[in-house]
């Protein structure tokens, strides 16, 4: 994959999306699991 001289900006954008969405999903799922385990 060669996206030219600015490819690092493109990869960083996609990385930001993956990390943010993945992080929020993980935190939300862990919270739900913790509450479920309590009840």
């Amino acid at each position: 994959m060669n996206f030219g001289p600015h490819s690092n900006f493109i990869f960083m954008s996609y990385a930001v999306v993956l990390v943010s969405l993945g992080g929020l999903a993980l935190v939300s799922w862990l919270r739900l699991r913790k509450v479920r385990d309590k009840s």
Partner: protein
């Protein structure tokens, strides 16, 4: 509407729809990424940098859509006192804030090679930053006030007042001279994006929408279960005292 605002009914419906929403997210996200990275052509002006659009524009749509959702849920809470309205509004805030942050960061990364700068204090960028602060303020209000009814009232007021920022974001590129380009996708009028670029954009927008729904439901389920646990503990305490 009141029938669906019943927490028990919501928990039943959520359990039924969650797997389909997750499937929708996985299918749309995987195919959206595939088309965005491998199939979409470079732009005649921006070249390969146009690929940032597929993650930036849907995040902008979700950040504004999320706030409108919170404002509607807050209005429902104030007017009809729906038992689920506050839970829905509060649960949507972290998801909306995350999409706004994604929008701001990917916009910055897109701006550096195309505009020559990560940030300018122009109307569009500043109004989106204000939206991010509104999300933070909304979440902070919920956490800062211990009495949940008072917190709901204060947070709902902030959400409804903050709605004034949404048309400012939308029309900022028309009302002021900005570096940000005007809208290319229009609900009324001709869309100026090539069909080869519309497909990944649509798939990524759908994926973000499914993601929003899944995380919103997880947060709402957790909040409802916490409320039930709290009321159970309070009932047990009352029994002990009596």
């Amino acid at each position: 509407m009141h029938r669906f605002a019943n927490p028990a009914q919501f928990m039943r419906l959520a359990a039924r729809f969650l797997p389909w929403l997750m499937l929708g997210f996985v299918v749309c996200f995987a195919s959206g990424l595939y088309f965005a990275v491998f199939h979409s052509p470079p732009d005649y002006l921006q070249g390969e940098m146009v690929r940032v659009m597929y993650v930036h524009v849907p995040a902008a749509i979700m950040s504004e859509g999320g706030y409108v959702f919170i404002a509607f849920a807050s209005a429902a809470s104030v007017i009809w006192k729906h038992p689920l309205a506050d839970v829905a509004a509060r649960s949507a805030a972290p998801v909306g804030a995350t999409f706004t942050l994604i929008c701001l960061i990917t916009g910055s990364l897109w701006g550096r090679p195309t505009w020559g700068t990560y940030w300018v204090w122009d109307a569009r960028l500043t109004s989106v930053l204000v939206l991010f602060f509104l999300y933070l303020g909304y979440m902070a209000l919920w956490s800062a006030i211990e009495d949940q009814q008072r917190a709901a009232k204060a947070a709902s007021t902030l959400a409804l007042v903050g709605m004034v920022n949404i048309p400012i974001i939308k029309f900022s590129v028309e009302w002021w001279h900005t570096l940000h380009q005007p809208a290319s996708i229009k609900l009324v009028g001709k869309t100026t994006i090539d069909p080869a670029m519309q497909l990944p954009l649509l798939l990524m927008t759908l994926a973000y929408g499914f993601y929003f729904a899944v995380i919103l439901i997880w947060h709402m389920q957790a909040a409802i279960m916490e409320q039930r646990q709290d009321s159970r503990i309070r009932a047990q305490l009352r029994e002990v005292i009596a």
